[in-house]
Structures are given as structure tokens and as C-alpha cells.
């Protein structure tokens, strides 16, 4: 029982990342009809927003080290600590959560620029061409990040307050064996909040209503005198923000390097397709489903019966689902089948 709870939790936080990326991919596909292979790169850029904010906050000056008296020694102390003392240390400690505020405008700008600059010219092109040009863009973004930040992963510590592990076993009355890193719980809650926010935005605001109408029948909405194109562009920006935030919050779990996005992209595409192209609910459900299945498959008990299953489970499930349900879990007819 303990093990099962632990595996579900393990699956949920990974599933949270898949679901956030897949949600953005589906949103872009459902509105603009564009297959965005650069979405993984947006996740990566989000992660590097966190890296650059930390670098900004920890810009240091040389201060005389008082503890060494034999000679003049200097140590690097961040400006923030010099200026604000304890408060400064606290701000640096909170770098990752603060990056959220930092990343939202940046990712929104990047998203809007990308849509206006590149994607808008590709609405009418074939899906293969969309895939290729966004794939090229992803490579370019990756290489730029690599040129600036280097090829090695850059660890980002979680804030002190949530750095340890939570004894959630006690919470459920299951004994002390079930411990779980706090940050992963934070991530899970965070992804839940973001997903809920996106859905609420689409469901309960006028803007969202127009976007949903546009997804159903773009032409009619246009004929009603609504500038649907501009709204779709903003949706692209929102999708970029969602991917970026997923990246920001993932940095304490996995130190980001320049190709972190590509690793997630392939799986997210499988997630989107399993969920059904164009279905937002399907994308989220499939994200969590595949995350949980993967973590169950990596249990030793399962691996001893079916060796190697942990390596292939996601793909295997994708194949089975696509063969049984031709359009994924919740896909609509006629989308992307040509």
C-alpha cells in the first residue's frame, strides 16, 4: 500500500510536467492548427529564466573576509546580502518561486514574438513543414542557450522551507516509510493550479468563450466581427507561459541543461496524441495517466515479471491506445489524419 501511494505520487509530478506541456501543445494546435515542435524549447527557456534570475540575484562583489587574519582575503558576497543582509539571503533562497514572476512576462513576449514572427506564416503550410520549421527553431534556441550557459546542467536548489522531504505516510496513517520530497508536492499542486487556471480562463471569461468558439468554427466567429486572429495569438503567448512555468518549477527536480526540452517534447507529443489531437481534457488526462503508468512500471516487483517494461511502457500504451481508439482518448474525427 505504501509503495503504491509512493508510486502514484511519483507518477503525478512527472505527469504534471507532461500535462502542462501537452496542454500548451494542444492549445496551440486547437486554435492555430499548428504543430509546434519548438514547445519543448519553450519549456527549456522557462527553466533558463529561473537560471538567469538566480544569476542576477547572486551577482557578487568582493568583500574582505574577516575570518582570515593572516593576510587580506576576499570572498564573493552577493550584492543583495551586502545591501539587505538577512532579507537579501531570503530573496536569493526564494529564487525559484520568484522566477515565476520573472518568467511570465518574458515567456509571454517570447511567445508573442514567435507567433508573429514565424508561426503566422505557417498556418496554411503542411503539418510536415510546420514540424520542420519549429524543429529548426528549437535547435537554434537550444544552441543559443548552450552558447551562453554552457552544456552542463545547472542545479537550482529549492527554497529552504520546502527543501526536505515530507512525511506523508503519517498524514494518511500509513507508517513512517512513506516520505516524499516537498518540492515535488509543490510541483504537483502548482501544475494542478495552472491547469485549473487555464481551464477556468477558457470556460468562465468572455475571452475564453470567444477562443472556444473560434476553435469550433473560426470562420463564423470572424464573420461576427471578432478579431479572432489576435486572440489566437494571445493564446499562443499563454501556451508559451504555461510551458515556461512548467520549466521554471521543474528546475529543482532536474537541473536544466540545453536539451531538457527535447527530452520532454517527444514524450509530450506522445501524450498529446494519446489524449487525442485537439482535446485539452484528453491531453491533461493522458499526461497524468502516462506519468503514473511509467512510475508503476519502474517498480522492482513489476520489472521482475516483465523485464524492460519501465523503458517502453509509455510507447507501448501509446501504441495500444492508438490501435484501439484511432483518435486517442478524446480526439475528434478528421483531425490530423490526412
Amino acid at each position: 500500500m505504501d509503495a503504491i501511494l509512493l508510486q502514484i505520487l511519483n507518477g503525478l509530478d512527472k505527469g504534471g510536467a507532461y500535462a502542462l506541456i501537452a496542454l500548451g501543445l494542444t492549445l496551440i494546435f486547437g486554435t492555430l492548427g499548428v504543430v509546434n515542435f519548438a514547445h519543448g524549447a519553450l519549456f527549456m527557456l522557462g527553466a533558463f529564466c529561473a537560471v538567469s534570475l538566480r544569476e542576477l540575484l547572486t551577482l557578487s562583489m568582493k568583500v574582505k573576509d574577516e575570518s582570515i587574519t593572516f593576510f587580506d582575503a576576499y570572498k564573493e558576497v552577493p550584492y543583495l546580502e551586502v545591501w539587505f543582509g538577512e532579507t537579501g539571503t531570503m530573496i536569493i533562497d526564494l529564487a525559484v518561486p520568484l522566477s515565476i514572476l520573472f518568467a511570465i512576462p518574458i515567456m509571454l513576449l517570447i511567445g508573442l514574438a514567435m507567433e508573429r514572427g514565424l508561426i503566422q506564416h505557417f498556418y496554411k503550410r503542411t503539418h510536415a513543414e510546420q514540424i520542420l520549421v519549429t524543429f529548426g527553431l528549437a535547435i537554434v534556441l537550444q544552441e543559443i542557450v548552450k552558447a551562453y550557459f554552457g552544456a552542463n546542467p545547472i542545479p537550482q536548489p529549492a527554497p529552504e522551507a520546502v527543501a526536505g522531504s515530507a512525511n506523508i505516510g503519517a498524514l494518511f496513517g500509513l507508517g513512517d516509510s512513506v516520505v516524499y520530497p516537498w518540492w515535488r508536492l509543490v510541483y504537483l499542486a502548482f501544475s494542478g493550479v495552472v491547469i485549473a487556471a487555464v481551464f477556468a480562463f477558457l470556460q468562465f471569461t468572455t475571452f475564453g468563450m470567444v477562443v472556444r468558439a473560434g476553435m469550433q468554427d473560426r470562420e463564423t466567429v470572424g464573420l461576427l466581427g471578432i478579431n479572432i486572429q489576435r486572440r489566437f495569438t494571445i493564446v499562443f503567448g499563454i501556451a508559451a507561459v504555461v510551458a515556461g512555468l512548467a520549466g521554471v518549477m521543474y528546475t529543482p527536480i532536474l537541473p536544466p541543461d540545453y536539451h531538457i526540452g527535447m527530452d520532454f517534447l517527444v514524450l509530450s507529443f506522445v501524450v498529446v496524441v494519446v489524449g487525442g489531437m485537439g482535446s485539452l481534457g484528453g491531453a491533461v488526462a493522458a499526461g497524468f495517466l502516462l506519468g503514473i503508468l511509467q512510475s508503476f512500471a519502474s517498480m522492482n516487483e513489476v520489472k521482475s515479471i516483465l523485464p524492460g517494461i519501465d523503458q517502453i511502457i509509455i510507447y507501448l500504451v501509446a501504441v495500444v491506445i492508438l490501435l484501439v481508439r484511432p483518435r486517442g482518448l478524446m480526439g475528434r474525427k478528421g483531425v490530423m489524419e490526412g
Binding site: 520542420l132 524543429f135 544552441e143 552544456a151 506522445v270 484511432p326 490530423m336
Partner: protein
């Protein structure tokens, strides 16, 4: 483009064969005239020709073609280990095994179309890759990769009385070692054969059927034609090409690793085909050549070489130019690849062949009208 008559095809094949066989001469001035790179040109050209039969002719975008390349490599190395160091059995078995593998995967994947097909092939390739790394280690030797050892049985070689002694044997074709130029010519001849087959397919009723599947599969279904056998045949043929390419990789360097099956490798062949021009006959070979050339030449550039190239500039300008262009070469040659890629897709959706066509059009007086009526056949 030129009308696809039998005579023109003969000229095309002849010119292609001549160009490939003399490649060491005319590629030397641009620094690509050495056997290792030429072998890669031929091998990946073959891979792209095969991929083009599926993607360019039939319109199915497979994202898992590297699996067949990997399987071909493993089959070839096993042939070296168990049977003989002669390359012919290795090539034969690689094509056979990858053909069977493609038959199984194609049979399942072709039940879906569009992106669902792409994801199915991607899923199978990633499964093969992950399994090759983990559970299938007895067959694939996991992360180390499958290598030759001195203790391999090599039954046929033993029967023929060939003993390699303590040294690691090298691959050969009836005594000619498959390294350097002999290796290149072996690959080149096979590529020319592969090219001829592709031309024959393109001109055959079967090829017409494949293009019909690409342009409107529904209509074919409504007229009562079952398209799946044709698509499956195209899938298996292109899988066999990939297997052959994998075998040639193993022939020139008898080592097979799982990373050949990763999705990035599958993506690479898609890039090559599109870069050259999907659906054209020569395009994929071009694309493969350009990408492999950039990979080898650009990645070898470093700071000193750049400094000497831009030596003619004044000092301060030289520094700036070298810093900027340094981003695009050496470690960062992927940046060049990505940028090149975007430029091609944005401005030349038909690939390099479209560019060639446009330039040719400029020089032809009756360009416009005559061109549009005949260019559809290879250009679609």
C-alpha cells in the same frame, strides 16, 4: 525539370553514376575528398533515398526510420561474428532482417494515417532503442555496442581456412579490405543500384499508385482499391534501404550501437530528405550530402582556423567576425543546421531541388509555361 522519358532517365542515371564514382575528384577542392566522409555521403544518401520512397512518394511521415538502420547494423555485425567477415552475407542478412522488421511494424502502424502514423512509428523506434539499451543486452551488448572479438566463431571463414589469429579481423569483399576507397566504392555502387531501383519504382505503375495514395487516399478507397498493401510495400522497401544503409555503416566500421536507433537519428533522415526536396529523385542524396558535409567540415572548425580565414580583415573587425561566426561552427554547428533548416523551409519548401529548378528556370527562355506542365512528375 525534364520530362520523365526512358531516355532522360538513362541520362539521369548515367550522370548520377558518373558523378558518384568520380566524387573523390570533384569533392576534393571543398575538403570532402577523403574516404570516411565519402562513405558517409553514400550511406546516408542511400538511407535518404529509401526514406523518400515512403515519405516523398507515398506521403507517410515516419519518425522511426532509424530503428531499421539500427537493426540492419546489428544484423550485419552478427553476420560478421557468426558467419564470415565477407560483407555480402552481412548486407544480405541486414536487408532481410530489417525488411521483416519493417513488415511487422508497418503492418501495425499503417492502420493509422497522418500524425497518428508518425507517432506509432516513433513509439516503435523508441521502444527498440530503449530495449536495445536494457533488456536485449545479450543481443545488442547494451551501452558498449556490439563489437567484434577474436573469439567469435565465424563458421564460414573457419571452413574456408581463413584464420585471423590474434588480431581483430577487418571486413572484406573476397579479400579486398572494406576500408578507405574500396569501402567507399562498395557503398557507392550499392547507392547507385539503390538509386536505379528508386527511379524504376518512381516510373512504374506501383510508383504511380504510391503518388495516388499521397495525393488522395480517400478517393482511392472509394474507387474500391485497397491502398494498404501498396503503402506496406513502400514501407518495407524503405525499411530495407535503411537496413542496407545500417549494414554499410557496419561494413565500414564493424560496430553497432543503440544510439543509431534514437529518434534524433530518425529526425536526421527526415531533415535530409526535406532539405534536398521530398519526392524528387536526386533531392534526398543532395540533402544527405549537405548535412553530412556540414557536420564533418563545420564541426571541425575552431578558433584558429577562423582567425586564419578572416585574416584579411582589420584586427578589430576580425575579432568580432570570428566571435560571431564561432557560434556557428565547431561545437555549435547545430546552430548552423537549425538556421539552415528554417531558411530552407521558409523560403524553399521544395528543398534544394526547388532552388536548383528556380535557378535553371532563370536561364531557360521558355521557362514559365513549359516548366509548369512537366515539373509535376518528380516535383510533387
Amino acid at each position: 525539370m525534364i520530362a520523365p522519358t526512358a531516355r532522360n532517365d538513362l541520362i539521369l542515371i548515367g550522370a548520377f553514376a558518373a558523378a558518384v564514382l568520380t566524387a573523390p575528384l570533384w569533392l576534393a577542392p571543398i575538403g570532402a575528398g577523403y574516404p570516411d566522409l565519402l562513405q558517409k555521403f553514400a550511406i546516408y544518401g542511400l538511407f535518404a533515398i529509401g526514406f523518400n520512397i515512403l515519405f516523398g512518394f507515398t506521403g507517410y511521415l515516419s519518425f522511426g526510420h532509424a530503428a531499421f538502420l539500427g537493426v540492419g547494423s546489428y544484423a550485419a555485425v552478427w553476420s560478421f561474428k557468426l558467419l564470415t567477415m565477407n560483407v555480402l552475407p552481412a548486407v544480405f542478412f541486414a536487408v532481410l532482417v530489417s525488411g521483416l522488421f519493417a513488415l511487422a511494424i508497418g503492418f501495425i502502424s499503417l492502420r493509422r494515417t497522418g500524425i497518428y502514423f508518425s507517432i506509432l512509428t516513433l513509439a516503435f523506434a523508441q521502444m527498440s532503442y530503449n530495449l536495445a539499451y536494457s533488456v536485449l543486452t545479450p543481443i545488442t551488448n547494451g551501452e558498449t555496442g556490439l563489437q567484434l572479438t577474436t573469439s567469435d566463431p565465424r563458421i564460414l571463414d573457419k571452413m574456408a581456412g581463413i584464420d585471423y589469429g590474434a588480431a581483430l579481423p577487418t571486413t572484406d569483399l573476397f579479400g579486398t579490405e572494406m576500408t578507405g576507397y574500396p569501402g567507399f566504392y562498395f557503398c557507392a555502387v550499392l547507392m547507385i543500384i539503390g538509386f536505379v531501383i528508386a527511379v524504376r519504382i518512381a516510373r512504374s505503375p506501383f510508383g504511380t499508385m504510391l503518388r495516388a495514395i499521397k495525393s488522395n487516399q480517400n478517393r482511392l478507397n472509394y474507387t474500391g482499391i485497397n491502398t494498404r498493401p501498396y503503402a506496406l510495400a513502400a514501407f518495407v522497401i524503405s525499411g530495407m534501404y535503411a537496413g542496407l544503409a545500417g549494414a554499410l555503416l557496419a561494413c565500414t566500421d564493424p560496430l553497432a550501437g543503440a544510439e543509431r536507433m534514437q529518434w534524433t537519428a530518425s529526425g536526421e533522415v527526415v531533415l535530409m530528405t526535406i532539405l534536398g526536396g521530398a519526392g524528387t529523385l536526386l533531392g534526398p542524396v543532395f540533402g544527405a550530402g549537405v548535412i553530412k558535409y556540414f557536420e564533418n567540415i563545420f564541426s571541425a572548425f575552431n578558433h584558429d582556423i577562423l582567425m586564419s580565414i578572416f585574416d584579411f580583415l582589420p584586427g578589430w573587425l576580425q575579432g568580432i567576425v570570428v566571435t560571431v561566426s564561432g557560434l556557428f561552427v565547431g561545437e555549435g554547428w547545430h546552430l548552423t543546421l537549425g538556421a539552415l533548416f528554417m531558411i530552407i523551409v521558409i523560403f524553399l519548401p521544395g528543398g534544394l531541388m526547388e532552388g536548383v529548378g528556380r535557378i535553371a528556370k532563370l536561364f531557360r527562355k521558355d521557362g514559365g509555361a513549359a516548366n509548369s506542365s512537366v515539373s509535376t512528375a518528380p516535383g510533387e
